[in-house]
Symmetry: C4
Subunit: 193 residues, 4 copies
């Protein structure tokens, strides 16, 4: 089975997710700078969620470059990932609405953790189709970044109840780890004969 | 006529449908766990609708692998399917808003039944283009799962008025039938010379 | 310049338009059949708008089969068409909100007229690129359906002030004219060597 | 790395942005012409934003015709552009809600400036991949229109506080500069052997 339509559908869903988040930013009813003050944290959480969804799209794009075929399990593993990403606008909105209350910040981390687990499952599904000596397997390697992210999320969720900003700082850290471009696929694809 | 644009348009519509459903989940105005309690059934209905729309996308994807050409009737049969799917967010929202009242659960089943009928019509339209000995016809076979689903929906709609959970249980049963991957197309496509 | 991206972008915009219209159907707060009664005209206007947008997608799809290249003018003529289509959810919602008041029904017809004019302009732009003896020109022929639709819209707008249902009947008539599949392109493409 | 998926994802995001702006136009609760009067500026700002987003799509489309490969930096430069474009519906809505108050008109210009800077960065990223004697470099030339737009935006933002209509006039001027089709790419692509 070809990968074209899976890519197209994922692009569509991620495009909608990344764009409807902006609808959570309610337009202020005043036009003075003071009206913008309460929007600052809302805006920062929008930027963070935009970056996270952007990272997933980027990694998805990179990984599927090395993918040659997909099966039924891949389709569902991919839908499972899209399911968790579709919850990002909801938890972003809940966090905004309640001024980064601990529970909402933990919920945000929980959804990020869910998406990260779903991505790992998708990776395993693809590896089982392509085999351990495939380009894909070599490109993924030990997936260090992936495992570090999972560990940080698991730590951040309880730490949100100590202080929400600790958890937020950890989320920003994960984003920073991934923003540094993942050159593994680019390197290997460049070597490709 | 090629099938590429029909697939792309269907992907786009289904991507929007599956994503706007999350907008029905209103962000709670509180940040304590009690605020999440009323969201549990809303969340479960979101999961169910996500799975149903995901099943349709998966089956659409599988079926169109075996499709070689489409005609004007196919385009309209496909739009007819997308029409019923576009009502899924509406009935999901109505069911949530009224705490799974019998009428709303029956309406949910009615929309699923409409989508299932539309899918069957789409199948027939494609078969009339491809002929009875095509790869498509062999892959569909007797379409047992399709007919069982139709029967269960027809039974579930009146049973919603006996008790909504009976109908909901039957909807979950249909989803479970389809979640087990439909290997018919994969098998036949693997045999393809 | 290739036509692939113009098609993909149009598919995306039309997919969003056709799907967000369902957001205009507000979920009723009651679960008895009486709560659905006020939804009947809303639902019918949704069906009508869905069919109109579906017709535009279908015709766009058919026409671009016969298109070989596009230029800058085509891109803007196409965006102009998408602009008018993007107003369909707005006028549908206005008509629903005011129970098919004459002014709103006339506005609905005005937007349909705008879209029809935009489609005609797009056709002319494409013809100027392809020449009078192209497959496209032969497929379009005298574009009788197109001109009849324009005439009906121009008549329907003032008639909405006589009685809204006259105008609505005329809109349904135009939809019916187009729902009969436009076999011109299929025929000619089948002849294509 | 191929450019196909970057184009598809950008098409998806821009399609959603250009369409959800219409949701900012709230349906009037009356059906007399007076109810439409307050909608006139809202409608004009919708047209302006539609044209701006359309210009970006058009230029994106033209530029990527001359692009042969993308790298990780391109993906992020492109997401950065989409980020600024995703803010257009928000600032359009804020401007409408506050009847073109100076601060909101300045904010609108700020987002346009951000998008213009992001587009310039994207251009530089692509040039660094393709080299100074590539088709892309020759097509962009000195990018006069791009620099003039930046200058006009920088002037318009403070002038919004003198009078909002001066800034709005300048935004319309920029749109007019770009609406005249950018024939650079078309010319060079026509010459392409």
């Amino acid at each position: 089975m070809g990968k074209g339509r899976l890519e197209a559908f994922s692009d569509g869903v991620i495009a909608v997710i990344i764009t409807i988040m902006v609808l959570e930013m309610k337009v202020p009813h005043d036009a003075d700078p003071a009206a913008l003050a309460p929007l600052v944290p809302v805006f920062l959480s929008y930027v963070l969620s935009f970056v996270f969804v952007g990272i997933y799209w980027n990694n998805h794009h990179h990984m599927f470059h090395a993918v040659h075929r997909v099966n039924g399990a891949t389709l569902w593993a991919n839908l499972h990932l899209l399911f968790w990403l579709s919850l990002v606008p909801f938890v972003t909105g809940w966090m905004d609405e309640n001024h980064f209350a601990p529970l909402t910040v933990a919920a945000y981390g929980f959804v990020l953790l869910g998406a990260a687990c779903a991505y790992t499952i998708l990776t395993r599904t693809l590896l089982s189709v392509h085999g351990g000596d495939s380009l894909l397997a070599r490109a993924l390697g030990k997936d260090l970044k992936g495992w570090i992210s999972l560990v940080i999320y698991v730590a951040a969720i309880p730490l949100a109840f100590v202080h929400p900003w600790i958890a937020c700082g950890l989320y920003v850290l994960v984003a920073a780890i991934w923003l540094l471009p993942d050159r593994r696929f680019e390197k290997l694809l460049a070597e490709k004969p």
